[in-house]
Structure formats: structure tokens, C-alpha cells
Symmetry: C2
Amino acid sequence: MVLKSLVEVHSDSHFPLENLPYGVFRIKKTNSECRIGVAIGDYVLDLCVIATAGLFDGPVLKSSDCFNQHNLNKFLELGRPAWKEARATLQKLLSDTEPTLRDDASLRRKALHPMDKVEMLLPVAVGDYTDFYSNINHATNCGLMFRGSENPIKPNWFCLPIAYHGRASSIVVSGTDIIRPRGQDRPKGNSPPYFGPSRKMDFELEMAAVVGPGNELGKPINVNEAADHIFGLVLMNDWSARDIQGWECVPLGPFLGKSFGTTISPWIVTLDALEPFVCDGPTQNPPPLPYLAEKESRNYEIELEVFIKPAGQEHSYAVTKSNFKHLYWTISQQLAHHTVNGCNLRPGDLLGSGTMSGPEPGTYGSLLELTWNGTKPLSLGGATRTFIEDGDEVIFTGCCKGNGYTVGFGKCSGKILPSPY
Amino acid sequence: MVLKSLVEVHSDSHFPLENLPYGVFRIKKTNSECRIGVAIGDYVLDLCVIATAGLFDGPVLKSSDCFNQHNLNKFLELGRPAWKEARATLQKLLSDTEPTLRDDASLRRKALHPMDKVEMLLPVAVGDYTDFYSNINHATNCGLMFRGSENPIKPNWFCLPIAYHGRASSIVVSGTDIIRPRGQDRPKGNSPPYFGPSRKMDFELEMAAVVGPGNELGKPINVNEAADHIFGLVLMNDWSARDIQGWECVPLGPFLGKSFGTTISPWIVTLDALEPFVCDGPTQNPPPLPYLAEKESRNYEIELEVFIKPAGQEHSYAVTKSNFKHLYWTISQQLAHHTVNGCNLRPGDLLGSGTMSGPEPGTYGSLLELTWNGTKPLSLGGATRTFIEDGDEVIFTGCCKGNGYTVGFGKCSGKILPSPY
């Protein structure tokens, strides 16, 4: 049964009562302070107003100031009991059978802001951002291009979720322009390395898990309790300058090829909202070591799509379709592995999934793969692309199709601006 | 001429009037809030008290609340004019010819705390921590051990300062115990990988630069202005589990082999205090690309030493002596390179130097090198060590020898506790 909200929600909206994703916004006109909100149809519900009105009256949230903050970190720290309570309170409050908000015109006016009147900001303060490499199609494609067809994937990949530490400072919210980075490229012959604006700008279609309570240093999280430490998911574009990355990355991994910007979608869709879209995790061979062996291995069916809107055009062209279910190491395994050495996770930390490529060429999650390192240009209407050109906007969408409703992530977009240098 | 302080300072103290390093402390007995202080002899000067007394009366600091904070980030953000002004104010205030503090017994009692009565905390909130790999001896040794003698160092190393993003959450202050991490080790034959407590626990003798104002995303910092973005240096132990690191690090670099803990010394010694110990930077061949070419290339003469105090013993044994001058890419080049792609640095970010090995065997900066990956055990009194054993305390010291005085970093220590699992 589709839930009915007191706010009108179109059947193709990403934000029905079944979703209720969390974000941080500011009212554009008044340039107000940033506030926590939940998306419902074409509106944002202001949780500071709801909390101030005393409507979070459950045992965990009644006396908490977690919604009177500039980001979601404090709410995330409270853990699943708080998240469940908030969801129940808000689903009731926003339902068309509940008079509290429905019949109070003054409260509705204060609490519900039309989405086009607000600016979305980063939902969390990210302490640390980790990027995994847990998609087998992506790992295979990169291996085939750079290591050859004998052993495209190294044996360690099948034993543990490979990852690297990313840069937290340059994480930005959807809609933020990204300036084309400068850097070095591998020298040709005896020349010095190329230095200048990257000539191989790429996107990486990823999602990221947002960490909840986390753990103390030295106290690992068990894989079967890991899901209680994940609040929800966002779309993530791990922008990559392939030339810079290729030259710098041996022996210590990606650095400046990634750290110029990482874009996330503004709305965090909770694991509770994604529960109807759980699917089986993959068969893992060799079987995971005991610390990675889950009682129940779960992935999520989330349809992902990437569009490029070329500079100077009004039309966006679909360049790939994939699905979040193509994850080899589940988000619970990623989180358990991350902490098994004692490393502490903190509320708001991001765990990127790795590029979510599907198994066929039209479903790859990066231009590197889609154009096979620039050797097979893509056609976008009249134009072609090997890598991203200045002025191109890259747009990700993600959604789960329920029976008569959609649980969606909205979009995650960014435009590449030319290097000013 | 040696400066004379109103507080008695022994000639071998690390903290004379010429130093004045910054830290954050709490008074042990009262478990007070954390406060900003400066070390002088065996005392800590409480800058909150000094600021409240109106003694920061220069134009930049007069109306700032930067010393009424729980960490140094706000002071760091103010930049070099504030740092210079604070240094001048404090050198005057603490000199034995200045009556303000000298002759005010009540103010002295409030403002000066004996060092053994305070607990030191992390001096900054670290947003992002980056670890460079800029010591040629260390890179050569690692290359010889793991890549062979043909080309121990890859050509990119000589073109750019190689680095990786480290983990910020697990940075701890000197004196914090470190729990031996668990993790996977490379499988033997067709067996599954080993899993359990690391069998190759190591230290890495490093220093880290503490970032000052930093830059906006997309706005690189010029290499000749980079020094104005570095507040000072700390000692840093980049604890490393060599077995975990070796198995996980291809293709994305170190991850869990490092992220279980990184220890820094509590006192940040400012570049202003280190100015008398500047020495020439190294000759770089090939010459650096223009964006890395400095008008003046500067390193610092800082004597570094590592001791191990074995479990159950009272005596510490010196295991290596090195010097911070063995840095190939200067800290200014590291910082300029870090931002050349537009990556933003924030106040309090740490830039690790990389392991500071000297050119001879007795001067290497890690047990990996000193014992040549465990093949040449070190003798510590009656005991031997290939890697760190449970209960061992590893102690770094660093100091600059001036004419009649010492500018020192105190110590950076940590004890390895057994894995409880």
C-alpha cells in the first residue's frame, strides 16, 4: 500500500512518505542559518521547527537538541533507536490522516519550505572519507586496461575490500562547480613531465555510506552489527583526473588525481527507507575470512544513471545505466574491515563504494571504462566525448522502484569549469 | 646572546624563551577544560589567562578570542602576522627584565602551571592528514627491499613529492597507548591469508608540518608563499603494520596497515623558532618543474633520535639517530604540490614528512630498514628486536642545538599493548 502524505506527492517523485531522506538547507531569500530538513514531495520539512514545537515526543528524541544543529552529525551519533523513532514520528506527522500538522496552517507555513526556495548544503561534517574499490566489473576493467588480461585482478582483491583514504576537505554538495585541476602527466621519452590542466577528466559513479555512531579507537565493529553503524546512502561522484592519477599513484595510491573535488547528493536516504529494496549479496569465492563472514549478506537494488549535459547545450544525454547491487563487498563488510585493525569511525564519515560498473559496456561507471581509456569516443547527440570537456555538466541519479512509488536520491551533479591558470 | 626568562630554564631544557612552542593542556587534578598554553622551562603558560588579563595588546590579537578555545585552529587560521605578534608579546612578557608578570605573584600563580601538573592533549583538530614520502634514503631502502636493486626508486619520485591521504581520526597525542592491530597477511601457497594480530609492528620516524590559514578549493598556493601557510612542526610516529600494509597496498596504497594510530608530540614548534636552524635544501635533479621551483630552498637541522624501552625494563635503548635535514622535497614544495590541483588545506591539517632515514644503516628511521625486514635483529641490552613487541615503548626526541640553548620538541612516545582479541 502506498502511504498518503498531507503534502501532494507525484507518483514519480523521489521523495514520498516512504523515503524521508535527511539533508541540510538554507532558505535562499533570507540567507538564513543552515537547518536540518527532510524531503517530502516538492517540500522540505524543517526539523528545527518540528522539534521546537515539541513534536518529537518519543523517549530518545524528546530532550535532544540534535535537530537544532547545522549538520546531521549529532543525530547520526544517536544511532538506530533515534533514527527509527524520528522516522515513525515523521511518517505519522506527515500522513494525511494526522491532524497535528495538516490542520495547523501557521505551523505548516513555518515548517514546510518549497524546495525551489531553499539551497541545499553538505548534510554532514565529514571527518574522514574512505573510498573502497569493491565493484568487480570496475576492478576487472581497470586491470584489463593497465595490467593486461592475464591476471586483471590481484588475489588480495578477493580476500579483502581494498580501499584508500580520500580527502575530506574537498567534498562538496551537488551543484558545486568543479575547477579542472592542474597536475603532472607521465613524461614522454626523456622530456620532463607534462604540467597543466588535466587532459583526462573523468567521473566515477559511486554511492557512499554515511557512518552513524562509529567506534572507539581499538574497538572493532563486528560485521553482523555493522549495519547499525550506517545511517544511509548518498550518490557520490569521485571526480578523477586519470592522467594525474596514473603518473602519481605508484607506490602509494591516488592523491592529487582525486583530491580536487568529490561531489555528493544532498539527501541521505536511510537504510530504513531502503529496506524494501534489499537483495542478496554476491557469492564470494574464496569464502570470506570469519571476520568478514555475514550471517546474512545484503545488497540494495538501486538503479543508477549518468547524464552528461555538454557545454552550450540544453539537452542531457544518458551515458550509462548501472545498479548499486553490483557490489562485491557489502557495505557491512566494508565497515567491519575498516575497523578490524582498531581504526575508529566517527559520525558523518563517508565510505565510498567504488565505481559501480555493470557487467556490460553500456553499464560502466566511468568514461575511462566507457571509452576504454579514450580509444572509443562516446556520441552525445552531435558531439563526441572521450573525457569530460570544460562546461560539461555530469548528472547522476539514483532511485528504487517500489510498487506505485519511488524511493530516490534526487541528483548529484557538477559542472567542470576551465582551469584559470 | 641567550635570552633570559623570568622562569628558570636549564641550559638543556627543550623550552627556553627562544622556543615557545604551542600546545593544549588540561590541569590534571581539577580535570579542567582544555586550554591553550606555551611551554617555558618546566612550566606551561596559560594563554587564556594571559589573554583575559588583556596582555595580548597588539593590533591583530587585541580583540581576538583565539586563545579562549579548546584547540589552536583559530589561532592558526589568523596567519603569520598573528603568530609573529604573539611571539613578540610572549617573549617580552616572559623575559626577566619585564615586570608585568615577574612582579605580579597572583597573575604568575594563575598563569604558570608546573608541567608535571598538566596533561597534554592534541594541539589541533586535524581535518585532513597527508603523509609524504620525501626522504630519499627511506625510498631507496624500501625500493631495494621490495623492488630490487635495478631501479629502487621509480622516476615519478624525482618529479613530484609522492604522498597519500592518511587517517585523521586515529591521530593521538604522545603518551597514548597503541593497541596492536589485527589484520590479514599475505597467504602462503594456496592457504587463506593469515588473520590475527600484526607480526610486523613498526615505527616510522617522521615530522609533520601543521598547516596555518590554508586555501580555498580551486586556489593553489604558490611555492614561494607556502611557508606562510605552515605554522610549525611536530614529531610524528606513523606506526606501521608491515605485514598488513604489504598485502593490502596494491593498487591503492596503505590503508589498515597505518590507520590504527598515528602519534604526534604535543608541542608545536613554530617555524619562527626554527629560523636559526635553517639549512640549504637538497640539490634536486632533475630540476623541479616551475610550480615546484623555489627562490630559496630551505630545510631545517633538527636532530632526531629514537629509543625503545622494552617491556619490563627501566632502560631505554637508542636505536637510531637521524636529522630532519634529510628531506628531499622541502615542506614548502610539499604544500605547493598538495594544492596545485586546487585541493584545499585547512588550519590544523597535518603534512607528514615521510620517514626520515639518514644515509647510513645506524640512521634509518624504521625497524623495517634497521633490521632489513627482520633479517638483521637489533640488540637492545640483553634482548633483540626485529619488530616491536607487546609492551615496548617507542620514544622519539627532536631538538636543535643553538649557541648555549636548545630548541626542542620534547618527546613523542607510545607503548604497544597486546591485541585483546
